[in-house]
Symmetry: C2
């Protein structure tokens, strides 16, 4: 497949496709395009999705459960193997085959299940503690929905999702084109 | 308040605070710090959150409803005034005082309610159509959870939230430090 065809599928340009891929080595042959199966396999390896990741969900609110039920996660190898919530109403309930546990069981579960990624979907005041406990137990990466900056070692990547800030980015972009009132 | 104090609260550095603010004009006086009330008011104006934004939610799944119920949205002036979903089971139900409507009522509601922002939380195959219909009816900005790149006029900002890509960003960062298998 040519970089032009890849670009059309990805809604970008052929030059961008070639430039992006060049960051990761040599793919394809000039004039022959890219061998699709090999390209897919190598990209999956680069992205770290040529394997399964055991994911722990910390906080069984709507956001957390939305993630949990999203079929694309499992399809990409992210397997939610444990759920923790401090709400006594939720503890012991089964969600999609996974029983909600008390956070006191967190570290033991991280170790026993080999949880490497956690999704932190708890209130801001609980997020730092759970992040630290996770890291201490062996967690290697954190998807953080709490509106605080987590303090964890540099070796542990954190991706922050702050939906209020996303909306504010929109209101900022719209407002900056308007004359001051 | 000094830039040092602001930096400590924002978990950044005083130099960064001064640099960031300098992009938007002159704030505070050297040696005197920043007048907090005035700074807050000006930042709210710059971000476009010195007013209320009427927001329409397109797609009443878990993600959409999580946003809808998140108190921080209303606190920042984002007011969800309408919900649309094509599921007959959901149409007519009231969620937080807002009745879920059939998408056929979308354009009329956008105009009647002055909806300027929409949250698109629908499957990929429905997202482009709803985006276009929204823009045609007067929508000015889109928070997009659908995993496609929306094609809208450049004057309409789009913020994309792709949670699979956030997890892949983590698995990439963790994997790139590992030797190849």
């Amino acid at each position: 497949m040519s970089s032009e065809e890849l670009a059309a599928r990805g809604q970008t340009t052929a030059a961008q496709v070639r430039k992006d891929l060049s960051h990761f080595g040599s793919f394809g042959k000039r004039g022959l395009g890219y061998p699709v199966d090999e390209l897919r396999a190598r990209l999956r390896r680069i992205l770290g999705i040529d394997r399964t990741w055991n994911v722990g969900l910390v906080g069984a609110g709507r956001i957390g459960l939305a993630l949990f039920e999203y079929p694309a996660f499992r399809a990409r190898g992210f397997d939610c193997v444990a759920i923790f919530d401090s709400d006594p109403e939720k503890i012991g309930r089964e969600l999609g085959g996974v029983v909600v546990q008390d956070p006191s069981a967190f570290e033991e579960a991280v170790r026993a299940l080999g949880i490497e990624l956690i999704v932190l979907a708890v209130p801001a005041e609980a997020a730092q503690e759970m992040a630290q406990r996770g890291v201490d137990a062996g967690v290697r990466g954190i998807l953080n929905f709490a509106p605080i900056r987590l303090n964890v070692p540099p070796r542990v990547p954190v991706e922050d999702v702050n939906l209020v800030m996303e909306l504010e980015a929109l209101s900022f972009q719209i407002s900056k084109d308007e004359p001051d009132a």
